[in-house]
Amino acid sequence: MRQKLTLTLLAAGLALAMSGASSAGPREDQLATYASAAKSANPTFTRFAVERGKTLHTQAFASGKADTPACTTCHGKEPRAAGRTPAGKAIEPMALSASPNRYTDPAKVEKWFKRNCNEVLGRDCSAQEKGDWLSFMLTQ
């Protein structure tokens, strides 16, 4: 657990150094924002769960678009490997360990959660779902 956290922090530090951003830990900030939103939606919420995030990522939904039933339709089954859009464009891996620059731009993360949750689930993802999913990818 500590090792994973260190890895996350290291990667965050690296991305920060390269992007020249000034706020500390954009990923941790975003997770904290999701956590407080999850808590106000559900008072029994305690923490994000990597396992739930993994389920969200791999599960097939019938409520969204027929040709994109799961996150893995585009992102692939293996988070450390590249994915591919229906129009044939390659997508860099979603696992932080494989794409250390990811999840540093909260607006970008939010934009794609909005688009992709609507594609796959036919609705917005909840704050808890976003936090679970992000926690999963940050530890992959």
């Binding site: 678009k65 859009t85 229906p86 129009a87 044939g88 464009k89 390659a90 609507n118």
Partner: protein, 167 residues
């Protein structure tokens, strides 16, 4: 043999599967003669219009097409491609300035033949010239798992991201 000298210089991002397929098709694509469409140079346009598919060259559609498309991003071929207003304006300005009937004219004279600019066509792949250039592409190639859609230019034109549609 032209094609053997081309393969090693193709971008790595393509992946090996696509490379194998494009090697079959490109022999023919290369026979077509020179065609260059200046690729998107603006980083914001590349990011916002190049994550789901190739960032299509602005010179492949007239300005009227881009204006209409940018006004309908919430329902973009069934996808939500919307961006905030300031970003949308920046993208629109770039596409309109480099469109087939404005700054990109020198690339696109042939491609716009028979196109009514007023009709603001939304698909490059439905322009009469595009259709006729691709009429010899057989059905199985469009359905190939590495192609799947006509909009996947890169599957056959390995250098499309750099603006080349022949060699």
């Amino acid at each position: 043999m032209k094609i053997t000298t081309k393969i090693p210089t193709r971008p790595l991002v393509l992946g090996l599967l696509v490379l194998g397929f494009s090697a079959i098709v490109l022999g023919r694509a290369q026979a077509g003669g020179g065609h260059f469409y200046s690729p998107v140079a603006d980083p914001v346009v590349k990011e916002e219009c190049g994550s789901c598919h190739l960032a299509f060259a602005p010179s492949m559609l007239p300005a009227s097409s881009w204006k209409r498309m940018m006004g309908e991003l919430k329902n973009h071929f069934g996808d939500d491609a919307s961006v905030d207003a300031a970003t949308a304006k920046q993208i629109t300005d770039y596409l309109v300035a480099n469109a087939a009937d404005t700054g990109g004219r020198r690339f696109s004279e042939k491609l716009l033949r028979g196109v009514s600019v007023a009709s603001a066509p939304q698909r490059i792949t439905e322009l009469p010239k595009w259709v006729s250039e691709h009429r010899k592409v057989p059905d199985w190639e469009w359905r190939h798992k590495d192609v799947r859609t006509k909009a996947n230019c890169v599957a056959c034109h390995a250098d499309a991201a750099r603006g080349y549609y022949d060699e």
